[in-house]
């Protein structure tokens, strides 16, 4: 064991059986807290006939009712007191020191309350990630991102400070100004969405700046989109910047539960801070073996104002069989977040994985970084249109590229697509989370 690898060698190399004991102890504590302090959780568990004394073994965790985003919305709905958090809040309102909210992609946003201690917890969890990715006090971190009511990159900033790094908030600057500031200050690391990482490199090149040669960024942490765990997208980012790119996953309600270490073997779940369960999306049967995809259910152990217990996130993940060379005992996920378990991505009766489409598109060097998937319905038939941009120098190769695209998409997704080629730079660009999947089918109720 090389202890300089770890933010906390005690937790990160805890033997698996001890880690399981720790998880059970922490689960009981947060369950008891929520049962006693939150009207929402008290009712959820009482209605199911459960109370803290019923948790006798690790296996009993699976008897605890799951919670979904829609339930949080109801618990907070219609101006319920204490406003705006409603029945889910587990501390007096005056203990809340930070407000954030979900983006509302799947409906009304969820309001997230944090105490100062909760925020320390989120920051601490992120510190594990940054340290594992090789961030040290000598790093000067640039954040090309405007912080706001969403959680994105707030904890990256605070964790960077916690590690002793110098953090440069590049929020209100435009992309060109950010690149110049990065160059002027010789920033060594940055955090952004994969879309923006690729877009920034494109902008830099137009300014006559070649990021690997003219900038000093050698580590990039990406979040907010699945690109960091998609090999073809990661390669594009690493080539464009001459930097190592590491994926990091989290959400407003949960916190920062998974990250890659510098060995890039897959996402480590921080199992000392979070319990990640995988279950069969149809039967609910627990999945412990590697290589079998299922639905993620997550518990955050020490976030107290608004506990997150057995949250059915509806993201699809699978365990990796590998043991990472870093020596951590935290389990690895294979391929990051692989899609959604709800109907949002069911097309022609097949579960469509947007990450698989991205992998195909980004693996074809004649195409730009941008693409758009539009799903429509004519009668009873779903149609998928994939819009891509061909790079100007390959305009004459359209037919050959179309053949490769259609074949690869069929292999990777089992679906057929209408392919549309668009002029380079004509598809919409985003500075934050991209919405490259547009489902325009009428909603069914």
């Amino acid at each position: 064991m090389n202890s300089s690898e770890y933010w906390n060698p005690i937790l990160e190399t805890l033997p698996r059986e001890k880690l399981r004991q720790l998880q059970f102890k922490k689960f009981k504590e947060i369950f008891t807290w929520a049962y006693e302090k939150s009207r929402f959780y008290h009712k959820l568990y009482s209605d199911a006939g459960m109370e803290p004394g019923d948790l006798k073994t690790y296996e009993d965790i699976r008897k605890v009712p799951k919670m979904e985003k829609a339930m949080m919305r109801t618990a907070q709905g219609e101006g319920k007191d204490p406003f705006p958090y409603g029945d889910i809040l587990s501390v007096p309102l005056e203990k809340v020191t930070a407000y954030r909210q979900t983006s509302g992609t799947t409906g009304q946003p969820v309001y997230q309350a944090d105490t100062w201690q909760d925020w320390e917890y989120s920051t601490e969890a992120y510190a594990y990630a940054l340290y594992a990715q090789g961030y040290r006090a000598s790093d000067r971190i640039f954040l090309p991102f405007g912080y706001n009511i969403f959680i994105a990159f707030w904890a990256y900033h605070y964790a960077g400070e916690k590690l002793g790094c110098e953090v440069i908030p590049g929020g209100v600057l435009n992309t060109e100004a950010r690149i110049l500031k990065m160059q002027e200050l010789k920033a060594t690391a940055m955090g952004a969405t994969p879309t923006y990482v690729l877009g920034m490199a494109e902008t830099a090149r137009k300014m006559g700046i070649d990021p690997p040669k003219d900038l000093f960024i050698r580590k990039i942490t990406v979040a907010g989109e699945p690109g960091g765990s998609i090999p073809a997208t990661r390669k594009r980012m690493e080539d464009a910047w001459g930097a190592k790119v590491y994926d990091q996953v989290g959400s407003t309600e949960i916190g920062h539960w998974g990250w890659e270490c510098r060995y890039q073997s897959g996402l480590h779940v921080n199992e000392a801070f979070y319990l990640v369960e995988i279950e069969d999306a149809d039967t609910g049967e627990p999945i412990d073996e590697p290589g079998r995809r299922g639905k993620m259910v997550v518990t955050t152990f020490n976030r107290m104002a608004q506990p997150c217990i057995r949250f059915d996130v509806k993201d699809l993940i699978q365990w990796n069989s590998r043991q990472c060379d870093c020596g951590r005992t935290f389990r690895l996920l294979d391929g990051g977040i692989m899609g959604r378990a709800d109907d949002i991505t069911k097309v022609k009766g097949v579960l469509l994985s947007p990450t698989a489409i991205e992998e195909v598109v980004r693996d074809i060097p004649q195409l730009s970084n941008e693409y758009l998937v539009v799903v429509t319905k004519k009668g009873d038939i779903d149609n998928i249109t994939l819009k891509v941009e061909i790079l100007p120098e390959y305009k004459n190769d359209e037919a050959a590229i179309r053949t490769v695209l259609v074949d690869q998409l069929r292999v990777k997704t089992n679906l057929g697509y209408n392919i549309e080629f668009h002029e380079y730079e004509s598809l919409p660009r985003s500075q934050s989370k991209s919405r490259r999947f547009q489902d325009q089918r009428p909603k069914q109720h």
């Binding site: 064991m1 770890y6 005690i10 937790l11 001890k18 102890k25 201690q117 000392a272 020490n302």
Partner: protein, 61 residues
């Protein structure tokens, strides 16, 4: 460096930090500057408990 750590020793020091910060609050007479800064210290003490003390307890079992 880290191989030389003394878990039991750290747990004792963390307990002392908590005790001191709580006592500081108690004798502050409600001075906001003391109470608020003590609360922030206690939030960090909690992180030390999560990082070290909770694991130590499991390792002892």
């Amino acid at each position: 460096m880290a191989e030389n750590y003394d878990i039991k020793g750290m747990v004792e020091k963390i307990k002392a930090l908590r005790k001191n910060a709580e006592e500081l609050k108690k004798i502050s007479g409600g001075i906001p500057a003391v109470e608020s800064n003590a609360d922030r210290i206690l939030a960090n003490v909690k992180m030390l408990e999560i990082d070290i003390s909770d694991a130590a307890e499991i390792l002892d079992e």
